[in-house]
């Protein structure tokens, strides 16, 4: 698989990959912080766990939004006669991005409703 193809696949899956990273980071951080009583620290007035979730969620949303825009742009710029697989992957990338935005928002939601470690 060439570098261009690898890039296409990554772009197509970018939203879901961002969700996966966000999920791993927030779950891992919450478990670690709570297991060692480090979660009581506050950061700019909000708890450390909440801060981690907020920052991770915003980063994941930004990454996904960028990938989505890029996919759409690629799609618009592809010529009519471009290989159908390329058209398909850029379209799929846009759809994936859209769905991932929802998943990422939902994933970050609990931090603003529930206590950190109880």
């Amino acid at each position: 698989m060439t570098g261009r193809r690898t890039g296409q696949v990554l772009l197509m899956l970018a939203g879901l990959l961002a969700w996966a990273v966000q999920f791993t980071v927030i779950y891992g951080a919450t478990s670690t912080l709570c297991s060692r009583q480090w979660a009581d620290t506050t950061f700019l007035g909000i708890g450390l766990v909440q801060a981690v979730v907020l920052v991770t969620t915003l980063a994941a949303l930004t990454a996904t939004a960028l990938a989505l825009t890029w996919s759409l742009r690629t799609y618009r710029r592809l010529p009519e006669q471009a290989p159908p697989a390329d058209l398909f992957m850029s379209q799929a990338g846009a759809l994936t991005g859209g769905l991932s935005l929802i998943a990422i928002v939902w994933q970050g939601l609990p931090a603003f409703i529930l206590p950190a470690c109880a």
């Binding site: 939902w106 409703i113 109880a118």
Partner: protein, 312 residues
């Protein structure tokens, strides 16, 4: 019997159970509605005349029905679920502390000392006052068990090496039933316990009574039972406070006669069932840790059971 019962999530007797009950009702009604909608559309797509159903046959259907609709519904349900979660099983200062240890296949229950009230242990029975939050700290002595009183709320696993807590409030006096919800071996099916919710005054009376040592036998027949209990070696596994029996392996029998059931919620507690239990444990509940004591004569067995039954 329907949906009300001594072990039913649909007959809530406490705030948490009620909150979850409403979550259940709302999701069931909403789910039924969605189910009818989807199956209705499916049947319409199959049976309606082609010109009537053609509007359904486009990608718009997927975008609205399969994407937008679930996203809207779930965006409402998820925060609601999270809020119910936040408000359920909340630790409260001043809650009555109780410690329960799950063992194959029974429940060790301990009420720790509280101000001037002394601590004591019992088994297979949880008595709680109405209106006061109760925090049950649970763990397991051997394998994983799970502590579940459906009428009061959700379940919490009892895991060796971990202490989990569950807080609930009983709001309706009565007798309920709890059960082990995690498969724990041979007799998982026969591991239940009684839950009695009483008015606070009655609870205090019960608590004071349980903290006292066992009463002495009132008649010679029962004294003979106590002697058989001693000679049979029952005390190497069981405690009867106030006597020399101080085994820690099995349930505390100091006030066994006051409990509603025996065998971990299996049989009503009376002389007959107690005698049957002692003689036939391995037949009634095969795999239980207590061996069958089949060598007692009928008369001895009645005396022994009578003694236990007298331990109110």
């Amino acid at each position: 019997m329907g949906c009300s019962g001594v072990q039913s999530a649909l007959d809530p007797a406490g705030g948490d159970a009620l909150r979850i009950y409403w979550l259940t009702v709302i999701m069931t009604v909403g789910g039924t509605f969605i189910f009818l909608l989807v199956t209705g559309l499916l049947l319409y797509a199959i049976f309606a005349p082609p010109e009537r159903r053609s509007w359904l046959g486009s990608r718009r259907t997927i975008v609205y029905g399969g994407l937008a609709f679930p996203i809207v519904v779930l965006s409402a349900l998820l925060p609601y679920g999270l809020i119910v979660m936040r408000d359920t099983d909340v630790p409260v200062p001043g809650a009555l502390p109780v410690e329960v240890v799950g063992e194959q296949y029974w429940w060790r229950v301990k009420y720790p000392a509280e101000q001037e009230r002394a601590e004591f242990s019992t088994a297979n029975e949880l008595v709680v006052p109405v209106g006061r939050p109760v925090t049950v700290s649970v763990t397991a002595a051997d394998v994983i068990h799970s502590f579940w009183i459906p009428n009061f709320g959700g379940k919490i696993d009892m895991i060796p090496g971990r202490i989990n807590r569950l807080t609930f409030t009983a709001e309706r006096p009565g007798v309920y039933r709890g059960v082990c919800a995690e498969f724990c071996g041979d007799q998982h099916a026969r591991m239940a316990f009684d839950v009695v919710a009483m008015e606070p005054a009655a609870f205090e009376t019960w608590r004071a009574g349980q903290a006292r040592p066992a009463q002495d036998p009132a008649i010679p027949f029962l004294a003979r039972g106590r002697e058989l209990f001693r000679a049979g070696g029952c005390g190497s596994c069981h405690v009867v406070r106030g006597t020399e029996a101080n085994g820690q392996f099995g349930p505390d029998l100091t006030h066994v006669g006051s409990r509603r059931t025996i065998g971990a919620g299996q049989f009503p507690n009376n002389v007959g069932t107690l005698a049957g239990w002692i003689a036939n444990t391995q037949h009634i509940k095969p795999g239980v840790r207590m061996p069958s004591y089949g060598s007692f004569t009928g008369e001895d067995l009645r005396a022994l059971a009578g003694y236990l039954e007298s331990l109110k």
